[in-house]
């Protein structure tokens, strides 16, 4: 049955080459931990992507209960964590996953650095990778405010004051990020929008660029 549905679609739009291209692509021996165990360091890029997917999925589900408003934000997080089935798990995935993403990005960057994979012709992908790192830091920073508790508030206070120390444009930057002269209702909605729409959009776009370039240029090595 499934086979026939697949064939029917394939007959018309020829989808087989699309996934064949990915499925038949050989993993080079020097990055395959089955051949050389030490090659596991090449897994960190994929693990970064995996944790990003978990962040996006769990974040989408959190948004079903979360309210980006100063009156209700904290109460909604408390409710989804303590009263909704599996709330503690889904929030836990997002909460701990946020740190795991950073760790994975860091390990992936170390691998790229020590295998010299940033060298010609892969300079652009290093730059894209650095942008991805900043986007992920941005997601961590904006997400941290969302539970709207003391920790969230003062972490943002400190973060925005760091932004304010930027020469010349510091004060403008503060006002732009806080949505006003102080951290309040407008900061929360702004951070929410940045956290769930702007940065994930940019993240997915750059991840696509990252992967397309990897297919074009192949994995570097062996050493």
């Amino acid at each position: 049955m499934l086979q026939r549905i697949y064939d029917w679609i394939d007959d018309r739009v020829d989808v087989t080459p699309l996934w064949r291209d990915v499925a038949d692509h050989e993993v080079p021996e020097h990055v395959n931990p089955g051949h050389h165990f030490s090659a596991f360091v090449y897994c960190f890029g994929g693990l970064t992507f995996f944790t990003v997917v978990i962040q996006i999925l769990s974040g989408m589900f959190l948004t079903m209960y979360y309210v980006p408003d100063i009156v209700n934000a904290h109460a909604s997080v408390e409710y989804l964590q303590s009263d909704v089935a599996y709330g503690m798990i889904v929030r836990g995935m997002h909460h701990w996953g946020a740190s795991v993403v950073i760790v994975m990005v860091f390990l992936h960057t170390l691998r790229v650095f020590f295998t010299g994979s940033y060298k010609k012709p892969r300079e652009i992908n290093w730059v894209v990778g650095v942008l991805l790192f900043f986007i992920i830091l941005g997601l961590g920073f904006t997400g941290y405010l969302l539970p709207w508790d003391m920790k969230a508030y003062f972490a943002t206070q400190v973060g925005l004051e760091i932004a304010e120390t930027v020469p010349v444009i510091g004060e403008l930057l503060y006002t732009l990020l806080a949505g006003g002269e102080f951290i309040g209702a407008q900061t929360l909605t702004r951070f929410f929008a940045i956290h769930v729409f702007f940065l994930p959009g940019a993240l997915l776009a750059l991840v696509a660029v990252h992967f397309i370039m990897i297919r074009r240029q192949g994995i570097s090595g062996p050493l």
Binding site: S58, D83, V84, A85, Y86, I89, V90
Partner: protein, 166 residues
Amino acid sequence: MEKNHNVSRRQFLTYTLTGVGGFMAAGVVMPMVRFAVDPLLQADAADDMVDVAAVDELTEVPQAYDLEYEQDQGWHIEQVSETVWLFLEGDEVVALSSVCTHLGCTVNWGTDPDNPEQFFCPCHLGRFERDGNNVPGTPPTEPLHRYPLEVRDGRVFLGTNAQPQI
């Protein structure tokens, strides 16, 4: 004859990898799905009875009263106020919902000049008899709902979920 039970290396890997991968994917997705469908599986809130009016205020003519109660909306408690039509049917107290059974507008008593002894819904000119039965030929297809009702010490107590009359 012994059947050939050999499993090729490729088949073995396909089975084990899809199996293990399936478990891992389920482990990630299952909590999120259960989280999302939680409203379907939450027990209905207990229906408390609310004091609405004194029996001696009531007459044969339906009068509007406010049924006020707290509704648990997760992280928020909503103060709900519903309009209820109360009247006497002999010695019996009747409490009709003001929600039109057509598409949910609010019905009023006697506001249609041609039918002063009926409930009238302005949205699509739906009408109901005093006992709540819908007037045939008007849009509503069932009688107005009734509230669960108790009289204690001369006061009328209503449940918060009006029930169909049929």
